[in-house]
């Protein structure tokens, strides 16, 4: 009986496992392999193996870029979560009809190309745009200041782009949350904010974790946003990778940088996911709660 069930399980999961292996695992391994290949003058890969590319990553411009990539991504994640938690809470509490309408508003931007939405920001933040003029009028910005082509513009557009990825998993968790637990906490003497911190946040922690990963990982790999609204001082690692591929035509170098990024994401994630939790505690990665 048990055996038959596990055979069935394997059959059912096989297609998605294959899909993941072919389109995710194999390319990752290929990219990592290329990082150990020498270059060739035509932009391809040479024969033989070398670690020279890895050694060249000590390039002094990299630490600054890595650091910027990290803090921009962390700030984006933090801001998205801070924004998404109250939104998710609110969405889970309001009437169904309103909820569907508001969810639609969150999803509507996805019907437009990502590229076009970023260009729209370029228009909004343009030196002759109304935001700039408004700020100047209010004496909040100098006439010569630029809203575009700096790390803050990148941060702003990144937050704008990634917030939905935080809202959706947090809303999903909040919707499953048993709000009677908040009443129970209030009943036991907790003020509103205490019940929020001590009961609501732990109650949606799985959604929070998903939201962090859903924002942080793509943020690390951002490339279009810093390319379009950032300046020379707001490059991220993604831009460097693109530059190595399209400008320098140095595939091994690009691969090495990509591998570095992949490892930077995978290592902390592995640690978080497999860190032994408190014994018996309903696990973060365990199946859905009741």
């Amino acid at each position: 009986m048990k055996n038959r069930r596990s055979v069935l399980e394997i059959l059912v999961t096989l297609p998605s496992a294959l899909w993941l292996a072919i389109f995710f695992l194999v390319p990752t391994v290929v990219v990592m392999a290329i990082a150990f290949k020498p270059t060739n003058p035509y932009g391809g890969v040479g024969t033989g193996w070398t670690v020279a590319t890895w050694l060249s990553l000590g390039n002094p411009s990299y630490p600054a870029i890595l650091w910027r990539t990290l803090w921009l991504s962390l700030l984006t994640t933090a801001a998205s979560i801070v924004f998404a938690v109250p939104v998710g809470y609110y969405l889970a509490r309001i009437r169904k009809r309103w909820r569907q309408f508001l969810l639609l508003l969150i999803i509507v931007p996805f019907w437009t190309s990502f590229l076009i939405r970023i260009f729209a920001w370029k228009v909004l933040l343009h030196p002759d745009g109304f935001i700039k003029k408004g700020l100047v009028f209010l004496h909040l910005a100098g006439d010569g200041a630029s809203l575009l082509y700096n790390p803050w513009a990148v941060l702003l557009v990144m937050i704008y782009s990634y917030v939905p990825f935080a809202v959706l998993p947090i809303y999903a968790a909040a919707e499953r949350f048993d709000f009677q637990l908040i009443e129970a906490a209030r009943d036991l003497g907790a003020k509103q904010w205490q019940s929020f911190l001590k009961v609501f946040l732990p109650g949606i922690r799985r959604g929070l974790l998903t939201a962090v990963l859903m924002v942080f990982i793509p943020a690390l790999g951002s490339y279009l946003i810093p390319d379009l609204v950032g300046g020379p001082d707001s490059e991220m690692i993604g831009n460097k990778i693109a530059q190595r591929v399209f400008v320098d035509r140095n595939l091994p170098h690009a691969s090495a940088l990509s591998s570095l990024l992949t490892l930077a994401v995978l290592l902390p994630m592995t640690v978080v996911l497999f860190l032994p939790g408190r014994r018996g505690r309903p696990d973060l990665m365990a199946g859905e709660g009741k």
Partner: protein
């Protein structure tokens, strides 16, 4: 506080749009009392409890606790604690942490919290389960943790919203006894909500019977069972037979003679002094009838009616007879006793006499439409809905 009243609802109402969930309820609960709110689904019990806990603001009226008006206080400032029907244990905390929650919020010293929690764990006999998470313990254990979590706050009133509804019958009976013990032990006021009359009867010092947002009657279990004030109470609590009649004559002050279609005149206790000519219902509980083949003596305030047996149902503890007299199908319950086994038992289709004492019938004035509906229910239905908890008193 004047006459020992501890918790008071004064003309409390709560409307949800058109629905009058609670409609002008006034109620006093004494200190240390085990007080039950009993009524059918949707009659406003939970709403009344939530008003006391502070989760709902009443539209009219006030709530007084220990002489103080608490109507506007937020939930966390009230010295009342609730045991929710679904328990609402915090899933991310262990049993021990769940129990400690209320004291941690108060920022009590760690050592004191640890001692209090230990005391509670002993009270609910779960010392060895303290480190488990709620999803790893049984329903009865969750129930006990919920009780401990509320009791550790030393509330002035403990609110229990159908705390046993989610448990199976066996466990329910055990928890019933445990609740009773805990109440004796801690001595605080319990306000207990249930739609199960058996629970209410066996636990409560007093019961308020609710129906459609209003309180129909407040009294001890005995008073409510023996002297229901309305046909709703009579039908809701236990099993009963209703007869439609009219007061024909008042006899010697406390008694009245009734005319009932198809019956000889019957004598009935009339403590409500319903005057001559008024339409009434006569309510007689199945176990109040005596059933026999020979005609029993009349007089001495006994009423006797002839009937034919339509059904005999052996129920272990007793036998239920459905007998017909005129247009009435009457439920009669008789307990077994040893010597009766020697008698030839009464069978289907036999002609019998049923008799009852004038004091065992209750006259109820017919005044509301819901009464009409109630009485027109076939007696079988009333028996089924309420039969379960019979005799628990």
């Amino acid at each position: 506080m004047a006459n020992g009243e501890f918790l008071e609802f004064e003309d409390v109402s709560k409307y949800f749009g058109r629905i009058r969930a609670v409609d002008g309820v006034s109620l006093s609960v004494r200190k240390g009392e085990f007080f039950s709110l009993l009524g059918p689904s949707g009659c406003g019990k939970t709403t009344l409890l939530r008003i006391l806990a502070g989760f709902e603001r009443p539209d009219t009226g006030r709530v007084l606790l220990n002489g103080r008006d608490i109507t506007a206080l937020p939930p966390h400032e009230r010295k009342v604690n609730t045991i929710f029907q679904s328990y609402a244990l915090f899933p991310h905390l262990t049993v021990r942490e769940n129990i400690a929650f209320g004291l941690r919020i108060e920022k009590r010293p760690k050592k004191e919290i640890a001692e209090e929690v230990e005391r509670m764990l002993v009270l609910i006999q779960m010392e060895d389960q303290a480190e488990k998470y709620p999803d790893k313990i049984s329903g009865g254990q969750k129930q006990r943790v919920a009780i401990a979590r509320a009791l550790i706050k030393k509330p002035q009133v403990l609110l229990l919203d159908e705390p046993l509804a989610a448990l199976d019958l066996k466990l329910r009976q055990r928890m019933l006894m445990e609740l009773d013990l805990i109440h004796d032990e801690v001595g605080i006021t319990f306000l207990y909500v249930t739609h199960d009359q058996g629970e209410a009867m066996s636990l409560s010092d007093r019961i308020a019977v609710m129906n459609g947002g209003i309180i129909e009657q407040v009294g001890t279990p005995g008073e409510i069972y023996e002297a229901p004030r309305s046909s709703f109470v009579a039908a809701f609590i236990g099993d009963t037979n209703f007869f439609e009649g009219r007061v024909a004559e008042v006899v010697g002050g406390e008694y009245s003679r009734l005319v009932i279609d198809g019956f000889p005149e019957v004598l009935c206790f009339n403590d409500k002094h319903i005057s001559v000519g008024n339409p009434v219902y006569l309510s007689i509980r199945p176990e109040k009838f005596h059933i026999s083949r020979e005609k029993p003596e009349t007089g001495n305030r006994h009423n006797v009616v002839q009937a034919r047996v339509e059904d005999v149902i052996y129920q272990g503890l007793m036998t239920r007879y459905w007998v017909r007299s005129g247009e009435y199908r009457i439920s009669v319950a008789r307990q077994h006793s040893r010597f009766l086994l020697d008698e030839t038992p009464i069978r289907w289709d036999e002609d019998v006499w049923i008799s009852w004492h004038a004091d065992d019938g209750y006259m109820l004035e017919r005044y509301s439409e819901s009464d009409e509906k109630l009485v027109s229910l076939p007696p079988e239905n009333i028996g089924e809905v309420n039969g379960e908890g019979n005799g628990a008193a």
